[in-house]
């Protein structure tokens, strides 16, 4: 009998925090906007002899916020530790991190797994550390840019609770959304502001053992995360099927070739010689301070989804789409508040034509200028039948392309799109169509009633979409019946 395998996946997520200054010095943390390499640096973040770290309060605040959002308990007594290893991107020869007492631990995140069933992923710990410098490798040498060195970095470590690539993706996507909701990380994976490491193992389905895992480092996109995990799962299954053993090792992901590559085996694994950072006294967080941070937590995606389902009578999938980004959810609510149309209609417009435009143009919501008020006006014009739905789409695209919004009423006027329920005008169009298409009329009279849809399309075309569909439908039915006998 063929053995089936189940993947076991845990994720480590590295997220840079969005603070003004670096973790341990007052240099700007906005390294991606640095004018040149090695301009946002000082003795502290370049590890000059004698320089000492000073904690960034804002980073502690943001880390606490993330811990709370992931249902963790926040540790009031925090210590920092040195993680010792040599690498040219690590100026001090050690990274200041947290080891025994991370800022947050024992949390969880509820996601939907590959079968759309709820899955609770345990968040083992969230700790603060500093980012490294950036290396660029040239032919015979490498260059180091310390602008990134010392930028606050959060490491979010899950238990190996995911049993499919889809679940891992779902977890990663949700963490990203939460970080963006909290305003502590832009979620930009291309720039490495958010990056993943996947711990992967496989085991016979039904087994509860934890087999040897491999660790895939530096996954810089959701695509890389899913492809690398899927590849690694298949690779391990093949190893077991050939009767082999999976080796514990650290892997890299070759995006171009679509394969994982061994970087170092267990015997070469670093001994980081962790010990308490003597330059930073332990950090004691007051209960009241933690509570004040907690009270500042915004409504998070899950809560917002539930509320949207109740308040706006949306289906789960509809609500989830809108709440996937806080800015989108806010925009939706803004349009709803300014419109007389039902929320469900607003959802259809945003999920439909609006998001299609976003996808086609590749623009982010932030880049689109369409005042909620104008969008609401347009939707209301369709709802009250001033224009047809098709005309509405035309107007919307006009408004979006106008960059500065544009006024829906003016566009309707300019394009002569106003809908008419003048029966004479519609009647005339119908009569013309029926006499031009005797074959279709005959088919109708022979009992093929579905031909009505085609005839309605002809009416819409002839009236340039301005005919009120209900009126047209009624008049068409009447005209057809008149042709019986």
């Amino acid at each position: 009998m063929q053995l089936t395998y189940e993947p076991v996946i845990g994720l480590e997520i590295h997220a840079e925090l969005r603070t003004n200054s670096k973790m341990f010095c007052s240099c700007s943390a906005d390294y991606s906007n640095a004018p040149e390499p090695n301009t946002f640096i000082c003795p502290v973040c370049t590890g000059l002899p004698g320089a000492m770290p000073v904690l960034n309060k804002k980073a502690i605040e943001q880390a606490t916020l993330v811990g709370l959002a992931l249902n963790c308990s926040i540790n009031e007594f925090n210590t920092f530790a040195r993680k010792n290893y040599f690498y040219p991107d690590l100026p001090k020869g050690y990274q200041i991190s947290q080891y025994e007492l991370p800022i947050a631990s024992k949390g969880y995140l509820d996601i939907l797994d590959d079968t759309e069933n709820p899955l609770r992923v345990v968040v083992r710990r969230v700790h603060i550390e500093e980012d490294t410098a950036k290396l660029s490798h040239e032919k015979n040498y490498a260059l180091v840019d310390f602008n990134r060195a010392g930028v606050p970095l959060l490491e979010i470590v899950s238990e190996p609770d995911m049993r499919s690539v889809e679940a891992a993706l779902s977890y990663a996507t949700k963490i990203r959304a939460i970080l963006r909701y909290l305003g502590v990380n832009s979620g930009d994976m291309e720039k490495g502001i958010l990056r993943f490491e996947a711990n992967v193992s496989v085991r016979p389905s039904g087994s509860s053992e934890l087999r040897t895992r491999t660790e895939i480092k530096n996954l810089n996109s959701f695509r890389a995360l899913t492809r690398a995990s899927a590849y690694e799962i298949e690779r391990q299954i093949k190893v077991y099927e050939k009767g082999g053993e999976v080796m514990q090792e650290t892997l890299g992901w070759d995006e171009a070739r679509g394969v994982t590559i061994s970087q170092r085996g267990k015997e070469d694994s670093h001994d980081y010689r962790y010990f308490p950072e003597p330059d930073l006294p332990p950090l004691q967080l007051e209960r009241a301070w933690i509570d004040s941070i907690k009270s500042g937590l915004p409504e998070l995606p899950d809560a917002k989804t539930r509320r949207f389902m109740e308040q706006y009578e949306l289906k789960r999938q509809e609500a989830m789409l809108l709440t996937s980004e806080k800015s989108l959810a806010d925009y939706f609510e803004d349009v709803v508040s300014k419109s007389k149309s039902p929320a469900k209609t607003i959802h259809s417009w945003i999920a439909g034509e609006f998001m299609r435009y976003m996808n086609d143009s590749g623009l982010a919501l932030e880049d689109i200028v369409l005042p909620a008020e104008k969008f609401a006006q347009l939707i209301d014009m369709v709802t009250d039948k001033t224009i047809s739905g098709n005309s509405g789409k035309i107007v919307l695209n006009e408004m979006l392309n106008a960059k500065r919004g544009g006024d829906p009423q003016e566009i309707v006027k300019a394009k002569n799109l106003a809908q008419v329920s003048d029966t004479g005008f519609i009647q005339e169009a119908i009569e013309n169509i029926l006499s031009d298409n005797p074959k279709e009329v005959e088919q109708y009279l022979a009992g093929k009633e579905t031909i009505v849809q085609w005839l309605m399309g002809q009416v819409a075309r002839a009236t340039k979409g301005k005919a009120d569909p209900n009126v047209a439908k009624e008049l068409l039915a009447k005209a057809l019946e008149e042709r019986r006998n």
């Binding site: 002899p49 004698g50 330059d279």
Partner: protein, 486 residues
């Protein structure tokens, strides 16, 4: 009048009354340094032009009567592990032989603000690892009282320069006796303040949790003057105390009558040089005459102090010294290097001396997975016991009194072949650093014509009492006024 022999207070009075100028004082001191130091070799770098420039500015300040402090116009030397902007700072190591910091240590800024005049940087055991200054990668420093002997370490250059009047005060750094032990060997006064009392920002770390910058001077009053200038909270050093700095000098003359001195019995055991012991007993009698009560106390964990101190030192130092990797500053050796690991290996092989390598290896070992609990963690636990020893002993008395070293200065080369023997010379001074308490070293007589050092150990942040008790002793004795014949 020999200008370089003046105390800070004497010089400051003469400057204030314009009997001398800072340029005269600085010039005379520089001249003496150029004359005498070739024999002593206390300085690694002398900054003549800069010193004269600073002295001129100090004279302007005094002339205008603006911001004049007791240190305005006073020339000083700093141990070469304290960063000085645009002045090379070597830690007496080849790996930093040409390293020129871009910034000043906080203490250097504070002294500059006070108008003190930096004369140069002094020799030390490489990165502070040693007790005789013989681990300097550059040259040995000689004891001004006997050129055949060591000045002590690791702040041997600062002690010798002070002793030979090659500066009006100096800055040392005490990780486990590195101010007090050489102060004792060279007949100068020096303090290891409470850990966290003086900013370490810009001090090239040996052991981050032990290191304390402390002044060395002719007498207790001067020492108090410098400490009250350099002490205090520094936003750039998170381990500094936020509590205000007392005006130590205003209280040094207070009577010590009725106060209690504790004598730790564990420090008075066999192995102490007879002349050292008799000098210390004599000092105790002096205090009795001043109306102080003497009582025996116990520091029961003393026997663990040395292993705990060295173990924690190795561990922290192995990490603190990781940044010397040849990629950003200092020595970089990359001949035929295949990869970056090669650069690290070659640079560190050539750049570090044997003692430094020995300690890095021991420290990396002690922190390794599987050994951490048995070594580092255990040592930290015993460290807590050492701290409690001092708390308990000091609960029943105001200060403790002990020698700074079981012997007087030993001969150059005498202990270099046996690291353990060298480590043992720190036996009386190391325990205070893991405990964090302050200790003042001061001259207490002579044994075979070599100075004997005594230390007073105080409660946390109670430098005040140390200065008071130390000053009282110097009012009754003139050991501190004895100058080497050089």
């Amino acid at each position: 009048m020999q200008l370089p022999n003046l105390t800070i207070r004497e010089a400051s009075d003469l400057l204030a009354t314009k009997k001398i100028s800072s340029v005269e004082l600085t010039h005379a001191t520089l001249q003496r340094a150029h004359e005498i130091d070739p024999k002593i070799k206390s300085y690694v770098t002398i900054t003549d032009d800069l010193a004269i420039e600073q002295a001129k500015k100090a004279d302007e300040r005094i002339a205008k009567g603006e911001n004049v402090t007791p240190l305005t116009g006073i020339p000083f030397a700093a141990k070469d592990c304290i960063s000085t902007r645009n002045i090379r700072t070597t830690c007496s190591s080849k790996i930093l032989e040409d390293y020129v910091p871009q910034y000043n240590a906080t203490v250097i800024n504070k002294l500059a603000d006070a108008g003190a005049v930096l004369m140069g940087k002094t020799n030390m055991d490489e990165f502070g690892m040693g007790s005789s200054c013989e681990n300097s990668a550059f040259f040995n420093t000689h004891n001004p009282w006997d050129l055949e002997r060591v000045p002590g370490g690791s702040s041997g250059g600062s002690a010798a320069a002070m002793s030979a009047s090659l500066c009006s005060f100096s800055l040392g750094e005490d990780t486990g006796g590195s101010v007090r032990m050489p102060a004792g060997f060279c007949n100068v006064t020096g303090i290891k303040p409470t850990y966290g009392r003086v900013s370490r920002y810009g001090l090239i770390s040996l052991v981050s949790s032990f290191d304390c910058i402390g002044p060395m001077s002719r007498d207790v009053y001067d020492c108090a003057t410098v400490l009250e200038t350099i002490a205090g909270h520094d936003p750039q050093d998170s381990t500094t105390f936020n509590s205000p700095v007392p005006r130590y000098t205003q209280h040094v003359t207070k009577s010590v009558k009725g106060m209690t001195i504790g004598i730790p019995k564990e420090y008075f055991v066999s192995g102490m040089e007879a002349g050292v012991e008799s000098s210390i007993q004599e000092a105790i009698r002096t205090y009795e005459k001043l109306g102080m009560k003497i009582q025996e106390v116990s520091l029961p964990n003393t026997k663990y102090a040395l292993p705990v101190y060295y173990l924690l030192l190795f561990a922290e130092a192995s990490s603190n010294l990781a940044r010397f990797d040849g990629t950003r500053f200092g020595l970089s050796v990359s001949e035929n290097a295949k990869d970056v690991i090669d650069i690290y290996l070659q640079t560190r092989h050539k750049g570090f001396g044997d003692e430094v390598k020995r300690r890095i290896m021991l420290g990396a070992y002690a922190l390794s997975a599987g050994y951490y609990d048995a070594y580092y963690l255990k040592a930290q636990k015993v460290r807590t016991l050492l701290r409690r020893d001092f708390e308990t002993a000091l609960a029943s008395c105001d200060i403790l009194l002990a020698p700074t070293c079981p012997t007087t200065a030993f001969k150059l080369g005498e202990k270099t072949s046996d690291p353990l023997e060298m480590y043992l010379s720190d036996i009386y001074v190391v325990a205070t650093n893991p405990a964090g308490v302050p200790a003042l070293a001061l001259p207490a007589g002579f044994s075979n014509n070599m100075p004997v050092g005594m230390q007073l150990i105080g409660k946390h942040l109670d430098e005040q009492t140390l200065f008071q008790v130390g000053h009282a002793y110097q009012q009754e004795t003139d050991w501190h006024k004895q100058l080497p014949n050089i």
